[in-house]
Symmetry: none
Subunit: 80 residues, 2 copies
């Protein structure tokens, strides 16, 4: 079981964890973050919640989902 903060949406808390992993290099640029299904399993959330996380990270410009392939970490501007 995961102790989510009750004050904020779970998707937001998951998104922050993934974002942190992107920033600390756990998920390097041009590599895929865990799939929606993996996120579901690791964080014990539903599919829509996991997808919301990915969509948020994509909207924020951290990742780009590629159909049939995965969701890839975008390189920073100075790493382009």
């Amino acid at each position: 079981m995961i102790n989510w903060e009750p004050e904020r949406p779970i998707w937001e808390q998951v998104a922050e964890i993934i974002q942190r992993r992107i920033e600390d290099g756990t998920y390097p640029p041009r590599t895929p973050i865990p799939s929606v299904e993996r996120l579901q399993q690791e964080f014990e959330v539903g599919r829509n919640t996991a997808r919301h996380v990915v969509k948020h990270l994509a909207d924020e410009g951290f990742v780009r989902p590629v159909p049939s392939l995965g969701t890839f970490v975008l390189p920073r501007a100075d790493e382009e």
Copy 2:
């Protein structure tokens, strides 16, 4: 057309049918159950629903999916 009971999920009803066939020997141990595509066709369900059925049966220990080969009926302990 198939008359599914509206009260329960379709995947559950399909899984029960397959499980019954395993138990009555229609699908003997070490032989494959119908592929996902065959399940789709026979029960007129979508791929994800058919896969859900297989995953459920695998989680319950009735079958083991083998990539590229099929999903095989596991032998019971006393038949091992």
